[in-house]
């Protein structure tokens, strides 16, 4: 797999959740419950807690970083976030949660959309992003096979 890059280091494993549209954490996500509250979002009501979140790109207000950091503090955040395109706001939320609380939420950019979709369709995903040079995101089993 090529073009993979770590935005925020860490490791996590869990069930993937593919968002059909990008989500603004601020205004679109409730840090108290881990649920999507943007009523225009196709996955309105879904719970993101503990999932390996597959979101193509960032969206919306820059306050998203605070909401994500607070969710990581509370344990309601996704276990890891896999993007196709870099997102500074998401990276910030995860970096600050690590700085203040020592809690991880790795953020990895999977440059190839096809690879990203394939991973999102698997039953379980493991993210190992301990060094900026070589993150790995692997699927434990492919769904539907």
């Amino acid at each position: 797999m090529t073009g993979m890059r770590t935005q925020v280091a860490g490791s996590a494993s869990g069930e993937p959740l593919l968002l059909d549209e990008p989500l603004s954490f601020w205004g679109g996500f409730d840090s108290a419950t881990g649920a999507v509250i943007d009523r225009f979002h196709p996955q309105h009501g879904a719970c993101l807690s503990g999932r390996i979140l597959f979101m193509e790109r960032g969206r919306g207000s820059s306050s998203g970083a605070s909401v994500l950091a607070e969710a990581i503090r509370l344990g309601t955040a996704p276990a890891a976030i896999c993007l196709v395109h870099d997102d500074a706001i998401i990276a910030t939320g995860a970096l600050v949660a690590m700085m203040l609380y020592g809690k991880q939420c790795p953020v990895v950019v999977i440059g190839d959309r096809g690879d990203w979709l394939a991973l999102a369709g698997s039953a379980r995903v493991t993210v190992k992003a301990e060094s900026a040079a070589a993150p790995s995101v692997t699927a434990a089993a492919a769904a539907g096979i």
Binding site: G28, S62, A65, E70, D86, A91, L95, V96, L100
Partner: protein, 413 residues
């Protein structure tokens, strides 16, 4: 690895205090995360971290207060959770209100200007064309880049304060000229002669479209109405940044880096993302509303982003007898002072208009009655309020909103 200057290394070693060293450590990690080669000086910062989103907000700001931190460049503050000038307006959880106030005060202790506005560009702190700045708040970012031609990326909470405490900003993205060119375009067709009232709605629809269809790819928009004002461009940017990760757009013939399409694109042919005529605009706006015309209203919400004095000048002639439903207008302290000086504050109060300062009606508990729908002329308010406040939303021009405030239901002017 990041290329650090001697001054950066010395700050990191603690020569400028523990807070600056700590903030620079975070800034360097952030710069690595976004792939910046190094840091550059910034002229100003606009900090969005003073709106309370939970304990993490307070833990971050108070960490720097405890370390004796002071901002190193002029730093304005975005809205907070409470109106410090009219604290009685807050009707939410008192614990939340006091945490919000404490957060606003912590930023003051760090030397930030207590501006508490999402539209710092409407104040004395407006940056200049070409300034390198570190701004947060999605609408302010788009406005600074697009309408002023100052240079900032979409900085979020925390990084904005880290830049302010160090006076440094990562050198990547929109800080560099080559990344500021349009790479797609949107044509507005047949609406050049629209009225001032219509221009506001066209701007909101264009913004929602650009956010949804172009995302972070910079769009050059052609064909906006000739009367499109700075306030309309503010509304366009706010809507675009609500529906997508937009940091900048070019309005050809209206914004400083786009005197013509060729300049906006750097002379390159760019693909067409969409062509919008009057019917397309109407469709986009009808999807924004969650109620139909005739729906009962509880309130009208204006000033997201914060109302400018020019917007108040348009509003005042529409305020006579007391409106049937509550009307709220968010604005900054700077504008509030001018309203008082003109005696407009009392005139607005008599008409049943509540002026909200320091905060915004869609981020905190201020509106008294949410039993019916709320009407707005703001694409941003309409986009976020259903999720934040659980309300239904009607949408219209400023004139539609004020006619509806009088009728108590959604009507068109």
């Amino acid at each position: 690895m990041l290329d650090l200057s001697d001054a950066d290394r010395s700050m990191l070693a603690g020569a400028d205090g523990a807070a600056a060293a700590d903030a620079l450590t975070l800034l360097i990690r952030f710069a690595e995360a976004v792939g910046a080669p190094g840091l550059i000086d910034c002229a100003s910062a606009h900090v969005d971290g003073c709106l309370y989103h939970g304990q993490a907000s307070l833990d971050f700001a108070e960490r720097f207060v405890a370390l004796g931190g002071r901002v190193r460049v002029p730093t304005t503050l975005n809205v907070g959770s409470v109106d410090l000038i009219h604290p009685e307006l807050f009707n939410g959880d008192p614990a939340l209100g006091s945490a919000g106030k404490r957060l606003m005060e912590a930023h003051g202790a760090l030397g930030c200007v207590p501006s508490f506005t999402c539209a710092p560009y409407q104040t004395l702190f407006r940056p200049q064309l070409g300034d390198q700045i570190a701004w947060a708040e999605s609408n302010a970012i788009v406005f600074a880049n697009s309408v002023i031609g100052a240079r900032t990326n979409r900085y979020g909470d925390f990084i904005d304060l880290a830049c302010a405490l160090t006076g440094r900003v990562p050198d990547y993205g929109l800080h560099r000229s080559e990344n500021r060119l349009a790479r797609t375009r949107v044509e507005i067709v047949g609406l050049e002669a629209a009225s001032a009232d219509e221009a506001g709605q066209i701007a909101v629809a264009a913004g929602l479209f650009v956010g949804r269809e172009c995302g972070a790819t910079i769009a050059a928009i052609t064909g906006l109405p000739r009367v499109t004002s700075e306030d309309d461009l503010k509304a366009l940017g706010a809507a675009a940044a609500s529906s997508g990760a937009v940091a900048m757009f070019h309005a050809v013939g209206l914004t400083p880096e786009a005197p013509d399409l060729m300049t906006a694109t750097g002379g390159v042919e760019v693909p067409l993302a969409g062509r919008l005529d009057a019917a397309d605009i109407a469709l986009i706006l009808s999807r924004l509303a969650t109620v139909h015309d005739g729906a009962a209203l509880s309130a009208v919400a204006l000033g997201t982003p914060h109302f400018s004095m020019r917007e108040f000048e348009r509003l005042m002639p529409m305020c006579g007898e007391r409106f049937t439903v509550d009307v709220y207008v968010n604005t900054g302290r700077h504008e509030w002072g001018q309203l008082q000086a003109r005696g407009w504050d009392r005139q607005l109060e008599r008409a049943g208009v509540t002026v909200v300062v320091d905060t915004c009606t869609y981020v905190t508990s201020i509106m008294r009655d949410l039993s019916g729908a709320v009407m707005t002329n703001s694409g941003k308010w309409a986009y976020y309020a259903p999720g934040n406040l659980g309300v239904d939303v009607g949408f219209g021009t400023l004139a539609d909103c004020m006619a509806s405030a009088r009728a108590g239901q959604v009507v068109r002017a």
